[in-house]
């Protein structure tokens, strides 16, 4: 499994660097805002950051599956001591690791700044958890849509259908906000996408 995860990380180094850069920028913005009083956190910037996240994770999933399909990576791996389920599990685990690697440092930074500024963390704990869970699950849902997109042979209907689904996911968060209902819906959406990817990946010819 570690070999498979290592391979995925190395093959998606560009995404890993982009995710790291995004994380670094977010942390930098948070620190600058907190200590120099320059208010860089505004609605347009948050919107742009949201779009970057959506594009980053959708493309990560799509690139992982597309390069597999075109380079026939899994058709080699599946003849070695690895099963298709393991190959996919390693892929999803890598994607999840990249998502967490992007989003955990800003969370830690936010919590640290709040602690240093002696904000009542107990009061904000539930809000922080909800916001973090929603952002992580939205990212994961986008990643799952990317996986589906990457494994679909280019045909207009499925591609547009998936992009429409992704737009729905993003709108869901925009409309509902960071609440439990959104978390549950995002979770269900991600599980459904993953189940579909798993079914296709384990049953189609490699």
């Amino acid at each position: 499994m570690l070999t498979l995860i290592g391979r995925e990380l190395r093959d998606n180094l560009a995404h890993l660097i982009l995710a790291g850069s995004f994380s670094f920028c977010t942390v930098a913005i948070a620190i600058v805002t907190a200590y120099w009083g320059i208010s860089w956190i505004s609605l347009p910037i948050s919107g742009i950051m949201g779009i970057i996240l959506v594009v980053l994770y959708t493309s990560l999933g799509a690139v992982q599956m597309y390069t597999d399909r075109t380079n026939r990576v899994s058709s080699l791996l599946a003849t070695l001591a690895a099963t298709r389920s393991r190959i996919l599990a390693a892929r999803v685990l890598t994607g999840s690791l990249i998502i967490l690697a992007t989003l955990v440092p800003p969370l830690i930074t936010a919590v640290a700044i709040m602690s240093l500024e002696e904000a009542p963390l107990v009061f904000y704990r539930a809000t922080i958890a909800e916001v973090f869970a929603t952002v992580v699950l939205t990212s994961f849902a986008c990643y799952c849509v990317g996986l589906l997109l990457g494994w679909t042979t280019i045909k207009a209907f499925p591609v547009f259908g998936l992009l429409f689904l992704m737009a729905l996911v993003v709108l869901l968060v925009v409309i509902k906000g960071f609440v439990l209902t959104a978390i549950v819906l995002l979770l269900l959406f991600s599980v459904a996408c993953l189940a579909h990817v798993w079914c296709r990946f384990t049953s189609l010819p490699l």
Binding site: L2, T3, L4, G6, R7, N71, R72, V73, S75, L76, L77, A78, T79, L80, A81, A82, T83, R84, R86, S203, L204, P205, L206
Partner: protein, 304 residues
């Protein structure tokens, strides 16, 4: 211990409504070198891909080490070495990276043997796989398949693209694997001389059906080519079962027949031939006779 590393049971595969494999059943015993033969598009690669779980069957099942191919465990995969037709390697990887990936995903890795192979083949480690020649890719694929010390080696036209020297090297390596006790090889090739040299059992696929499945000696023993000369013209009413091919010209008839036995000889004797001589047949001759189109109406029934 499973005595048949490969079992194929009533395997059927359709592609876009076209039947590629039509009820194939066979078993490859442990330690056997099985030569799978057939013309282009006869379903050899499809059968191998189904065996490895790369392709789902339409009906029937295949077992590898007693496990269903569609749910083959990583452990079972780790016991199988596979050289694919066209050498299915990750083209964008450097040779060294591909080797370390395969090593990382293997259950056993024979460093000494692999080093020996790399020394023999002299493959450039820093080049990308797509930059290698077809022959080099074949050698790399073969080295990777051999390095895991496979209990079952599946070779799908492995010598395709190799020059004569490399092909000979490959056969010697295959023989080296054979000499290790209990190793089983499923070998598909169009170079029948190679198959004849190393295989001890052969299967011939024709139009999705297996028309021959027996040992090489048995096949040579059971399929006979006879040159029969009659005193006058060839009789029109010479009928026998399991005639694979019949060609007549004047007084001479060349008859290829399966399961030649005293009863059939007795039937032939009733036509009082002037002479009847057996023509020696190589595996290639038998294969050509068995897969000859159109002029062999009895072929479908004459399974050997």
């Amino acid at each position: 211990m499973n005595d048949n590393p490969i079992v194929v049971d009533d395997l059927v595969k359709y592609y876009d409504g076209r039947c590629v494999l039509d009820g194939i059943s066979l078993a490859v015993p442990r330690g056997c070198i099985y030569g799978l033969l057939g013309r282009n598009g006869s379903g050899k690669t499809t059968m191998i891909r189904i065996l490895l779980g790369l392709e789902p069957p339409t009906r029937g099942r295949t077992l590898v080490f007693g496990e269903d191919s569609t749910r083959l465990s990583a452990k079972a995969h780790g016991r199988v070495g596979y050289v694919a037709e066209g050498h299915n390697l990750i083209q964008s990887y450097r040779v060294s990276r591909l080797i370390s990936l395969c090593k990382g995903l293997s259950l056993h890795w024979n460093d000494e043997f692999f080093g020996h192979l790399m020394e023999t083949f002299r493959l450039p480690m820093d080049r990308r796989v797509r930059e290698l020649s077809a022959g080099m890719r074949a050698q790399l694929n073969l080295a990777l398949a051999m390095a895991i010390d496979p209990e079952l080696l599946i070779l799908d036209d492995p010598t395709l693209g190799l020059d004569t020297v490399a092909r000979r090297q490959f056969l010697e390596l295959a023989i080296d694997v054979i000499q290790r006790q209990g190793r089983t090889i499923l070998f598909s090739s169009h170079i029948l001389g190679d198959v004849e040299r190393i295989a001890d059992r052969v299967g011939i696929l024709l139009a999705g059906k297996i028309v021959v499945d027996c040992t090489l000696e048995e096949l040579k023993d059971r399929v006979k080519k006879l040159r029969i000369i009659f005193p006058e013209r060839v009789p029109d009413d010479l009928f026998m079962t399991e005639i694979i091919n019949r060609q007549s010209q004047g007084r001479e008839m060349v008859l290829t027949i399966a399961n030649w036995n005293p009863q059939k000889r007795a039937i032939l004797e009733t036509f009082k031939p002037a002479s009847c001589a057996e023509v020696p047949m190589s595996l290639e001759d038998i294969f050509i006779e068995c897969t000859r189109p159109a002029s062999t109406p009895a072929l479908q029934e004459s399974e050997v």
